[in-house]
């Protein structure tokens, strides 16, 4: 997911530079929502999940889900998200909302590279503090009521905390900002030695649990730096390498594949092995709770 965030930062920073706020947001909505709606309806229909609100008390949650803002309305995500990756679109929206303002400020600053560097550092500090506070339970009050609406089971609190608070938008902004900085400073990025990029990527991405433990937060800013190393390597790949064609073709299909791979997997498992108990580990509340409301793990 974080690589997608970094790519989004890399790609959109110049697009936001060239367009006003409203056309930029409209462009993003046109790009994202139609495919999302088709995928959402298809997944809900296939999995037998709700397509419309059952009552007036669910309308706001439903609308949040329709506009891919479900991660701000935990009950809405629990009730109406049949794709199980929609939460990342909410994170993307927060980036789209803030990006034009940042691009405007960068242009006004007269030193865009320095501005984006400062913004990336500020985002890294904010992300780190956010995750630390979330992990310590200091932000539990943010969604206390929606969590109770999802389940009264106190044992589910930790999973819900990770699913909705620890990984919320402030924890992820650092990845977008790293991507944006890489694009703005692409001349300097091009001078980074390949060996250094390999080293950074291997050290920071090779053992994610260790990296998270060392940094004290999970997700961690260190992952973003490791992914930046990976991006530097990708930018150096010789153009036209035929052995990479399959990956390029997957890149063409990345959005629909991304949206549909979880419901398709679930549908296949339901049909092939209807009695099978899927492995359930970690804070997988977004998938576990809606499909397994009794908490039968």
């Amino acid at each position: 997911m974080q690589l997608f965030f970094l790519i989004s930062g890399y790609l959109l920073v110049q697009s936001a530079d060239r367009r006003r706020w409203a056309p930029f947001l409209a462009g993003r909505a046109v790009r994202i929502l139609p495919c999302y709606w088709v995928a959402l309806c298809a997944a809900a229909w296939t999995l037998g999940r709700p397509l419309v609100p059952a009552g007036a008390d669910e309308v706001l949650d439903y609308l949040a889900s329709v506009f891919a803002l479900g991660h701000l309305r935990p009950y809405g995500l629990y009730r109406f998200d049949s794709l199980f990756v929609s939460w990342t679109l909410t994170i993307e929206w927060t980036w789209y909302l803030g990006l034009p303002l940042l691009a405007w400020a960068a242009a006004r600053s007269g030193r865009p590279v320095r501005f984006w560097c400062a913004a990336a550092i500020a985002a890294a500090v904010l992300s780190h503090l956010w995750v630390m506070a979330a992990q310590a339970g200091r932000l539990d009050g943010v969604y206390a009521e929606p969590f109770r609406r999802i389940t009264p089971d106190p044992a589910a609190l930790e999973a819900l905390r990770v699913a909705f608070v620890t990984v919320a938008a402030p924890a992820q902004w650092t990845y977008f900002l790293i991507g944006a900085l890489m694009r703005v400073a692409q001349d300097r990025v091009a001078s980074i030695p390949v060996w250094a990029a390999v080293l950074v990527a291997l050290v920071l991405l090779g053992d994610p649990a260790r990296t998270a433990a060392l940094s004290g937060t999970d997700p961690t800013v260190a992952t973003g730096i490791g992914l930046a190393g990976l991006c530097v390597l990708a930018l150096r790949v010789p153009a036209g390498a035929r052995w990479l064609l399959p990956l390029h073709r997957l890149g063409d299909l990345s959005y629909p594949l991304y949206l549909l791979h979880v419901p398709v997997t679930m549908a296949i498992v339901q049909r092939v092995a209807p009695g099978a108990r899927l492995a359930r580990r970690g804070p997988r509340a977004i998938i576990d709770v809606p499909t397994n409301p009794r908490g039968d793990r």
Binding site: G206, V237, H248
Partner: protein, 63 residues
Amino acid sequence: MTQAQGAVPAAQQAFEARHRNPVNLLRGVAVVAVVVHHLAVYEGSAVPYLSVVGGQLGCSSSS
């Protein structure tokens, strides 16, 4: 050359342009990482390295 015959090279040209775009390559890597990670989570295991790139909740612990 007919219009229909001309359409194929145009599509190929567009693909070739994307093929030369490293960001498209990264998109491919990202989606493979996410899909592999989710399949591994379903199966009850974790894939080192890919889990951090494709992690379900953006956390290594989610795998």
